[in-house]
Amino acid sequence: MQTALSVLVDSTLITFVFALAAIGLAIIFGLMGVINMGHGAMLTLGAYFTWYTTSAGVPFAVAVLLAACGVGLIGLLLEHFIIRHFYDRQFETLLLTWGFFLVSTEIIKIVFGTDLRTVTNPLPGAAHLGPIVVPAYQGVVALISLGLLVGFALLLFRTTVGIKIRALVQNAEIASLLGLNVGQAYKLVFVTGSAAAGLAGGLISPMLSVDPYIGNVFLVRSFFVVIIGGIGQVLGGTLVGSFLIGGSETLFALVSGQVVAQTIVFALAILVLRFRPTGVLRAE
């Protein structure tokens, strides 16, 4: 019973970490259809910015917000100078965002060095909820992750900006005929997605040791989360996808090794991609 509970807690927490890591991609890829292979690099940048500012004495929460702003700004530059010229060419954006990964990884190595960096856990200790023990920081991150998902879903479905973005997603041409500034809306979405990735990178940084490739752990997984959950399903899709990609890994790891579990999950993800290319939650 005790182990069953702790497995449940573990897999829930991991689900939320994966969801957090994938939110930025769910926005950029899920809404705009841009294959952002630089998503991992954005997470890494967020982690490094957080490490840099916290070691300069900035409080953790502020550092994470700064990281989000910083990566958002980088996203703005990337979109403005490169990506916006290639929206109609998905394949080129895939390669260009991979180029962004290559370049930003090298810049990280030059600026921050290649040593492993650690960000101090701002909330050590654990919360005891009856028989359940939840590490405090992971618990807070899960809540933030859920809050972000709900927030983005509300933004998308309950606000004027959200209507505009949904119109853009449905049919950019007609949306622009109706007076929507398509270029600006794309820019807004891309920058929001980048900032979300930066935020996620910052929040994840105390859980792992930070190295120049830390974000790549989440790159393919985030894509699978978004595809399997269902493209464009920001709230439900991301959660379901995160559980299937992240949470289930914990469950498989009970009966097999960690590495085998990961391989099984990837194989299952490829099966879903083959048989339900629109994702688990989408009906069409």
């Binding site: 390669l95 180029g99 090298e106 595809i227």
Partner: protein, 339 residues
Amino acid sequence: MTRSIVARPGAANAGLLRSETAVAVVVFFALALLPGVASGYVVYIVPQYLLYGMLAMSLALLWGFGGILSFGQAAFFALGAYAMGLAQHWDMAVNPAYVALLISIAVGGALAGVVGYFLFSAGVRDVYFVLVTLALSIMTEQITISQSDITGGYNGMFIPRMSLTFGDASLDLSDDVPMYYTILPLTIGIYALLRWVLASRFGKVLIGIRENEDRVLSLGFRTPLYKTAAFAISGAIAGLAGALYGTHASFVSPSLAGVLFSTQVVVWVAIGGRESLLGSLLGAVGVAALSNYLTAITPEYWQLVLGIVFVLVIMAFRGGVAGALGGLTAPRRPETESG
């Protein structure tokens, strides 16, 4: 005489092929003479670059001519190398290295064929195919790490240099010169084979798929089968290159299957020129040689420059160096759009 099935590439393209043949003859001739004028490290390392070039050509077939990008070529390459390493320990009547080469071709081809058919037959879109191949290379890396009883895990595996046997005669390839003259002809052979494949009816259909898959499909060609075959050929060549790499380097480790090496191949091919086999081959040789040389001097900045060059090539020079020199790949685009 082959009947023209897909609209023939323009006359300029035929000119490109003729001039490419001339350049290829000169390049291969120069490479054949190299051990005569150079020795030591150069003779040791050039075959390794040529094997990278072979890997690059396997991607060029798929990406440059078929329009299908794979981020997983390193998976086949690494499997080939492991096959070579494992086979050397088998006790067989025939030369185990020959068996290993055949196995590496078969494993690369079969894995690519199965994965390719599985995805292409369902019409999985090209961008998703990239993700699956990326996952394939991560999975291969993970499996080689976890199966450490067989593969040596993180520590990798030592592989003895193979020897060539002809009946009773045998030639040990542990010296660099015989190794050089084994790998160079094989590289030329693969180049010639791919040129032949591309000139065939199959190659024309493949180029047609790159230009407009729906139209080729509506002409009655089962495009998923053609794409599967292209991926299988590509995987088989990558496997062969990997097996030779393993025995040349005498070592293989899981990072050979990894994402970074996998996408390195994409960078070579993009810079060399994805629509030219020779361009891809020389792109790999050139970038790998430069990397090796400049990494000693300025490792970080060189990688940064390489990344920036890659971005510029994708943004502005679709044909890479080969296209820029030939000046011939650019006019092809508008041609397709109009007809």
